[in-house]
C-alpha cells in the first residue's frame, strides 16, 4: 500500500486528469517535488484540469502541500483546478494547507565586502562603548561599596566567603602547579644559556626579579581571567537569561550589590594571595632546578636571592594584583550582564570576557611598568 508515488496524466476530451497514486509523504518529497514541477508546466494547456487523489494511499502535510502547490499553479491559468476524489480522512488536512497563504521568505543577506567593512567599522565604533561600559560598572560597584560602608549590615558576607572559596581556595592547586612549572622552566633556560658565559649564578637574579615583579602576578591574573572571569560571566549571563536578575530588581535588591560586589571583593582579595603563592611556588621550582640541573645548592641560592632582590620588587608585584583583579571582575560582570536571550550570546560574551580580561590585564601591566620606572622602583 505504500508504493512509490506517481502522478499520471489522463486526457478525457477537453479535460485533463492528473491522477496521484501511492504514498505522498515526506520520505518521497524530492521525487514528488520533481513530478509536481513537471505537472505545473501543464498550466493553461487544457481548459479543465483536475487533480484526482482518490488513489493516494498515504498523505501527510508534505504531500498535501505539494498537491496544494500544484493546484495553485494550475489555477493561475484559465480555469480553477479542482481536487477530486478526496477521502474523508484527508479532506481536513487538505483544507488546512489550503488556508496557508503563500508568503515570500525573507532572504538572509549574502556576505559582501561592504558588509564586512561595515562590521569592522561598527566593531571599532563599539570600542568606546566597551570603555564607557567598564567605567559605568566601576562607578556602580564603587557606589554599591559606598552604600555597604554606610550600612554594613547589607554586606553579603556568606556570598563573599562562598566566592572566595571558589576563586581562591579551589584555585590554589592549579595556580601553584603551573607557576611551579614556569619557575622550573625559567631557571632551566637561564642556566642553559648563562652557562656559556660562566654566569650560572645570575639565573637567581633573573628568576627573583622576573617572578616577583612580573611573571608571578601576570601569569596568575591571566589564569584567573580564564578560570574565574569566565565563570562569573557564565553565571551572571545565565541568570540574566532566566530573568533572575529582573526578579532581584523587582524585589528591591540591587543586582550590583547582591551579585557583583561579593564577586568583585572575593576576586580582589583572592588575586594578591594567589599571586603570592604563585611567586613562592615559582621561586621554589626555580630553586629546585637550579640545584638539580645547575648545581647551585639551596644555601647559595638563598644567599644570592637575598642580595638580588629587595622588598621593592615584591611590592611592585603584589600592588598590581588587586588592580588586575578589579579589572578582570569588572570586565566579567559587564559581559555577564550584557548577555541576551540565546545560548549563542552567552558563549560570545563568555569568550569576550576572557579575551578582554586578559587584554586589559596586560595593558594594566604595561601602565604599571611605566609608572614604577618613572618613580624609580
Amino acid at each position: 500500500m505504500n508504493g512509490d508515488p506517481k502522478l499520471e496524466q489522463i486526457a478525457k476530451g477537453n479535460a485533463l486528469a492528473l491522477c496521484a497514486t501511492g504514498a505522498w509523504t515526506a520520505s518521497f518529497a524530492p521525487a514528488l517535488e520533481r513530478m509536481v514541477a513537471d505537472a505545473e508546466k501543464l498550466a493553461g494547456s487544457r481548459p479543465n484540469i483536475f487533480i484526482d487523489v482518490s488513489e493516494v494511499s498515504k498523505l501527510d502535510t508534505f504531500g498535501a502541500w505539494l498537491i496544494e502547490r500544484l493546484r495553485r499553479s494550475l489555477t493561475q491559468g484559465a480555469a480553477e483546478a479542482q481536487i477530486a476524489g478526496l477521502s474523508a480522512n484527508y479532506s481536513s488536512l487538505v483544507d488546512e494547507v489550503r488556508r496557508v497563504k503563500a508568503t515570500p521568505v525573507i532572504e538572509t543577506g549574502a556576505i559582501t565586502i561592504t558588509g564586512m567593512l561595515e562590521q569592522i567599522g561598527r566593531g571599532v565604533a563599539g570600542l568606546t562603548g566597551t570603555v564607557t561600559d567598564l567605567v559605568d560598572m566601576l562607578g556602580a560597584v564603587l557606589a554599591a561599596s559606598g552604600r555597604v560602608l554606610i550600612r554594613p549590615r547589607s554586606f553579603r558576607l556568606t556570598s563573599t566567603v562562598h566566592h572566595l572559596e571558589q576563586v581562591c581556595w579551589r584555585a590554589v592547586p592549579i595556580i601553584v602547579l603551573i607557576t611551579f612549572l614556569i619557575g622550573c622552566i625559567i631557571a632551566q633556560q637561564g642556566i642553559f644559556h648563562f652557562r656559556r658565559f660562566g654566569a650560572d649564578i645570575f639565573v637567581v637574579d633573573m628568576l627573583g626579579v622576573l617572578v616577583l615583579r612580573e611573571i608571578g602576578v601576570l601569569l596568575v591574573a591571566i589564569m584567573i581571567a580564564g578560570r574565574s572571569g569566565s565563570a562569573y560571566t557564565a553565571e551572571l549571563g545565565s541568570m540574566k537569561m532566566r530573568e533572575e536578575i529582573d526578579a532581584l530588581r523587582t524585589m528591591g535588591f540591587d543586582p550590583i550589590e547582591v551579585l557583583v560586589l561579593p564577586r568583585m571583593l572575593a576576586l580582589v582579595l583572592a588575586l594578591p594571595i594567589l599571586a603570592f603563592l604563585g611567586a613562592m611556588a615559582a621561586l621554589y621550582g626555580g630553586g629546585l632546578v637550579a640545584w638539580l640541573y645547575g648545581g647551585v645548592d639551596p644555601e647559595a641560592f638563598l644567599l644570592r636571592l637575598r642580595d638580588a632582590i629587595s622588598i621593592d620588587h615584591f611590592i611592585v608585584g603584589i600592588v598590581k594584583a588587586p588592580v588586575m583583579a578589579a579589572v578582570i571582575g569588572i570586565v566579567a560582570c559587564v559581559e555577564g550582564l550584557a548577555v541576551q536571550g540565546s545560548a549563542e550570546s552567552l558563549g560570545q560574551h563568555t569568550t569576550s570576557s576572557v579575551v578582554k580580561g586578559i587584554f586589559f590585564v596586560i595593558v594594566m601591566d604595561g601602565v604599571f611598568a611605566i609608572f614604577f620606572a618613572s618613580i624609580g622602583m
Partner: protein
C-alpha cells in the same frame, strides 16, 4: 481514525525507575492505542514527566520493557532507534526551542536532519506548520527570546510536528497559557489529531484539557497507574485522590 482494538503504539511493561533511594515508578504498566489522545494526570511530583522521559529514553530505568511502534527500545540498534525517533515528536514543558536559531530554523531543524527536501519546500512547509499551530508568518524570523510563553509552546508544537510524526508527547502543553489560549491549544491538538491521524500522549494538569481533548485518561499514583479509562470512569471511581481531583471545587466549575 477511530481507536480500534489493535497493537498499542506504546507498550510499557513493569518499568521501575529509581533516583538514588527514591523509587519514582514501581512496576508500571501502560498501553497507548493508535489514534487516541491519552491524558495523563497525577499529583505533582508523582512522576508523570519521569514516565514521559523514560519512554522517550532520556531517563534510564532499573527494570521493565518499553515498546514504541512495536520496537523494543533497549534491544534495538541505532538505526531502528533513529527510525522510531523520526516517527515521534516531543513538546517539552519549557518548549526547549534552540535559542540561537530563529523560529523558522527551529522548525526546519528536524527536516534538515531527516529528510532530503528542497529549501523552498521546507520554507513552505514551515509556513504551513506555523499556520496550523495558529501563528502568523511574521513570527518565522523571530528568535525564541522574542516570543511570548504561548507562542513558544505553539512554535515548539510546530517543531514537534515538523516531520509529520505518528505520535507526539506533550508535557503540560497548556501550563502557563491563559484559559482562552489553553482552550485554543486543546482545540488545536484535537484538530491535528483528526487531520494528521496523530496519537497524542499528553501530560496535563488542566481539567479543561481532560474534558475537551482527551479520549482516555490514565492516572499515576504511588509509581503505578491507579486508573485508566474514559472521563466517566474517572468520575465514577472511588479512589480518594481521583474523587478529590474530579469532584473538587475546580472540577465542578469546569463541568457546570
Amino acid at each position: 481514525m477511530a481507536p480500534e482494538i489493535q497493537d498499542p503504539i506504546i507498550r510499557v511493561r513493569d518499568i521501575t525507575v529509581q533516583f538514588g533511594a527514591t523509587r519514582v515508578l514501581d512496576g508500571l504498566n501502560l498501553d497507548v492505542k493508535r489514534g487516541e489522545i491519552l491524558g495523563f494526570v497525577g499529583p505533582s511530583g508523582a512522576g508523570k514527566s519521569v514516565l514521559t522521559r523514560t519512554i522517550i529514553g532520556l531517563v534510564s530505568k532499573v527494570a521493565g520493557r518499553i515498546e514504541v511502534f512495536g520496537v523494543d527500545l533497549d534491544s534495538s540498534n541505532s538505526s531502528q532507534r533513529r527510525g522510531v525517533e523520526r516517527r515521534w515528536g516531543v513538546l517539552f514543558q519549557q518548549g526547549a526551542l534552540f535559542s540561537s536559531l530563529t523560529v523558522r530554523q527551529n522548525i526546519q531543524f528536524p527536516m534538515r536532519e531527516y529528510l532530503k527536501v528542497s529549501q523552498r519546500l521546507m520554507d513552505e512547509i514551515t509556513m504551513a506548520k506555523l499556520a496550523m499551530v495558529g501563528l502568523k508568518p511574521e513570527v518565522a524570523e523571530r528568535f525564541p527570546s522574542e516570543l511570548s510563553g504561548g507562542m513558544i509552546k505553539r512554535v515548539a508544537l510546530a517543531r514537534a510536528l515538523a516531520l509529520d510524526p505518528e505520535l507526539v508527547f506533550l508535557d503540560e502543553p497548556t501550563s502557563g497559557l491563559d484559559p482562552i489560549g489553553a482552550g485554543d491549544f486543546d482545540e488545536l491538538v484535537r484538530t491535528l489529531q483528526r487531520t494528521l491521524g496523530l496519537t497524542v500522549f499528553m501530560v496535563t494538569h488542566d481539567l479543561d484539557s481532560l474534558y475537551t481533548a482527551c479520549d482516555r485518561i490514565a492516572v499515576l499514583g504511588n509509581g503505578k497507574i491507579i486508573a485508566a479509562g474514559s472521563i466517566a470512569d474517572m468520575q465514577a471511581s472511588q479512589h480518594p485522590w481521583l474523587r478529590q481531583y474530579f469532584h473538587g471545587k475546580r472540577a465542578r466549575a469546569v463541568m457546570s
